[in-house]
Symmetry: C2
Subunit: 493 residues, 2 copies
């Protein structure tokens, strides 16, 4: 398998040591106690959709692939670890010869995902399956957060173009770079982040800052100089001094004096401050009257899905949104709380012993066992009806009806006929060998559009969306109950 456009070859960073120190102290401990050779199953999942939304957009699988493909401890890494004087020579040797040998499954990027579904499953020696926790969480938590936020913003824009403009306010360089990637997956059609075009093929866009205008003797001269350099792609920033008294009149003057005589049509004007509802309407009216009804109005300035929905509902006339800080940091809810929990351990005879993490907080109780997820679609309209988490050994026969039931209120049941299913988890590593190829970012963006189309509008709603059903198979539900009863008799008050 080849990595070209997708792969972070430019930077070629080895992020092996980007790991919580406790993964190392546990690793060392596993070897010492011989528990490290046990085969463990870990699930990565989340418990809540940010912003009380109806679903999330899976993202980050390609970067997990790059990370796992590059796992390797350098001599300096070993030297550094040795200097800590807490790791055994046996463990340091293990790391020196580290060869990733786990099986890994993941929900492919771009699919809508829901709370409590395993998004990534890792099976392998406990010492390895544990070690990759930090980077799997960091990668999926970040990109899924931003892809989900971007998807909300693009939905609010109702088909208008949304450009990702956040690099300068991102949380670190990768926040900008992979944030731009995730934003494109979520639906943005371009980015201001140049390196994101180079790395991922997301169209990079940009025109001028206020400083361009300030560097010239006056606004008219600045616009004129711009139009002369970019006659075929001329968008002017018109709010440096005063939009209606100065910016727009100067822009129209330059359109007429510089572009039209050369046979070019102007592309757009951009507003970056002020009351964008009022100004966009006024600008539209004036542009139309001046014969520029084809000139786009581009708007930026601390936008998010709430403001975009609001200004559009007030009749703002906007063709394109530039969205910065509130997208690139997911400002309204900047933490995606994915977790990585032990789900099962394999005995030496190969039998799988399911594990459960109990908690006094019922929502924090995990689903035990080695599992898979089926998405169930209605044959009549291709809409997704529910997701069903089953044990890995279970298969669904599409010819038979399925009975779904609420895992808490089990008397709430539903029988489904005329359906088809899709398995969500796909194997990406087989005993450490990569067996999956990621689509390009702009292809993943299309997957998002196709797959969210299959959700009912009630699930897509911003406010109080319908709770999409994520149910457990009877077998998994029984297993969970059994373990809960067992533990509760031992520990829970």
């Amino acid at each position: 398998m080849e990595f070209t456009k997708n792969f972070d070859v430019r930077n070629g960073r080895n992020l092996t040591m980007l790991v919580d120190f406790y993964e190392l102290t546990m690793g060392n401990g596993y070897l010492e106690s011989e528990a490290g050779n046990k085969t463990a199953y870990f699930d990565m999942f989340f418990r809540r959709v940010p912003d009380d939304g109806g679903y999330c957009i899976m993202a980050g699988v390609q970067q997990i692939i790059e990370y796992l493909s590059n796992l390797k401890f350098s001599d300096e890494d070993i030297e550094y670890l040795k200097s800590r004087n807490i790791f055994s020579e046996k463990f340091l040797n293990y790391l020196r010869n580290f060869k990733f040998c786990c099986d890994v499954w993941a929900v492919p990027e771009g699919n809508p995902v829901f709370p409590n579904e395993p998004l990534v499953v890792v099976k392998g020696p406990a010492i390895q399956a544990q070690f990759v926790e930090t980077m799997i969480l960091l990668t999926v938590n970040h990109q899924t957060l931003i892809a989900t936020k971007a998807n909300r913003i693009c939905r609010a824009a109702e088909g208008r173009s949304v450009m990702e403009f956040g690099s300068r306010r991102a949380q670190g360089y990768d926040g900008a770079i992979y944030g731009a990637r995730a934003a494109a997956i979520g639906g943005c059609n371009s980015t201001a982040c140049t390196i994101a075009e180079q790395m991922f093929g997301i169209p990079a866009v940009g025109t001028m800052a206020h400083s361009w205008i300030q560097l010239f003797p006056n606004e008219y001269e600045a616009f004129k100089a711009w139009a002369e350099v970019y006659p075929d792609n001329c968008t002017l920033l018109i709010d440096t001094y005063n939009v209606l008294k100065s910016g727009l009149p100067n822009a129209i003057k330059v359109f007429n004096e510089v572009l039209l005589p050369k046979g070019y049509r102007p592309k757009g004007i951009r507003l970056d401050s002020g009351d964008i509802t009022y100004l966009s309407k006024k600008c539209r009216e004036i542009l139309d009257k001046a014969g520029f009804s084809d000139v786009n109005i581009v708007v930026s300035n601390s936008l998010d899905e709430f403001i975009i929905r609001d200004v559009l509902s007030q009749g703002a006339v906007i063709d394109s949104f530039g969205v910065g800080e509130r997208l690139i940091t997911a400002k309204s809810e900047p933490v995606f709380g994915g977790v990585y929990k032990l789900a099962a351990v394999e005995n030496e005879d190969g039998t799988i012993v399911p594990k459960i993490k109990i908690s006094e907080n019922e929502e924090k109780i995990t689903n035990p066992g080695f599992k898979k997820i089926y998405r169930i679609f209605d044959k009549a309209n291709d809409k997704a009806i529910a997701d069903l988490i089953t044990l890995a050994e279970e298969n669904i026969d599409e010819n038979n009806p399925i009975e779904l039931f609420n895992p808490v209120y089990t008397w709430k049941k539903k029988k489904i006929k005329d359906y088809y299913v899709k398995e969500l988890l796909v194997k990406i590593f087989d005993k450490g060998k990569l067996v999956y190829e990621s689509p390009d970012v702009m292809e993943i963006r299309k997957i998002v559009q196709e797959e969210t189309e299959k959700l009912w509008p009630e699930v897509l709603r911003f406010e109080n969306p319908h709770n999409y059903y994520v149910d457990l198979s009877r077998k998994l539900w029984d297993l969970k109950e059994e373990l809960l009863h067992k533990y509760s008799s031992e520990y829970v008050e």
Copy 2:
């Protein structure tokens, strides 16, 4: 000058192409219009302290140094830019032979900084001084945000140890790595992020996850195995099943059975869920009675400055806090709104023409001209009285009193005697040559402690802190007024 521990040699990334596309379209335009050779002065500053705090902690200068030292366009970069078909051959050649030649000043890391103060000043050819905008903002915005948040959290902990635990929830890999750096600068004394110890010398710490305990037949066996591997540094996570009925009794049993006979004292117990006020008090009582009054209680679980202050005020008995997602993302306010604005342009005869960015929003009006900042200290107690922004040509004679005045309510005046001053901006690049050496991260951490000591407690307060004075010199104020009157007569309604 050598880069060793401080420098990101491990990754050696060239982030030249991490740039907003408009810096490139402007750069190309400057060359075409001959405006690019003008010498421009840009200021990086912010307008508001996050969380309505009283001050921010400057951070990120070392990474600006690394970025500017590495600025270079590779052949692939040029190829990519050429493929966009909008850049002139002259511009591509300029980039091919790019040599950074600007002067750069910055406030050294660890200093408290305030709104409207230039934190970074860049002077050089407009095309270059403009180009570095994205990365200067991205770097300082991120690290100052996290250092400031960490400083709040550490203040709430009132001298107790605060460990940075956030990697898994950070916004991207650099969010974790440089976030850990900034958190240490702000006051955290350790991190879970292993690579941050390797790169910056911040002590990395960690023990076990719940999965360690689940991988053993029972909690007791898991604790016993741990104590046998780490007898001299044994901290046990006691909330996997039930803190008081299972975790703590098993921990005490293992302390008595495994550690004491070998002559070791246990180090601590860790709580990661539940009501930490109640549980910490109970655990302390039980540990003390069992003869373990020297055993630390470590607490984690969605902490921030507000929760820490709250549980401490309720009498929680905690020695050490592990702080994760709310620190590493600055969850309560995850955007640091630093901006980069043109302050002046040099004419061909060398005279500096100050530039102002006006706005209908008064707070967004910039301070014009090439400037510097004096921090004024009281000789009697070394407390910081005020900061004074002056033109670069102005000097303060400490033998004469200074009159400070409020830049809005100019009748609010204050005459200062018996003071001394410190210039805040330090030159870090001279015509593109690095002339400054950053202290190590743990030294910067000390600077923060020393410099925040010099602020009055009223400025340090969380709620409604005293507004530290940031005043303008008479000369700068006069200049600003003059420009405002000039522009307002032209444009403002």
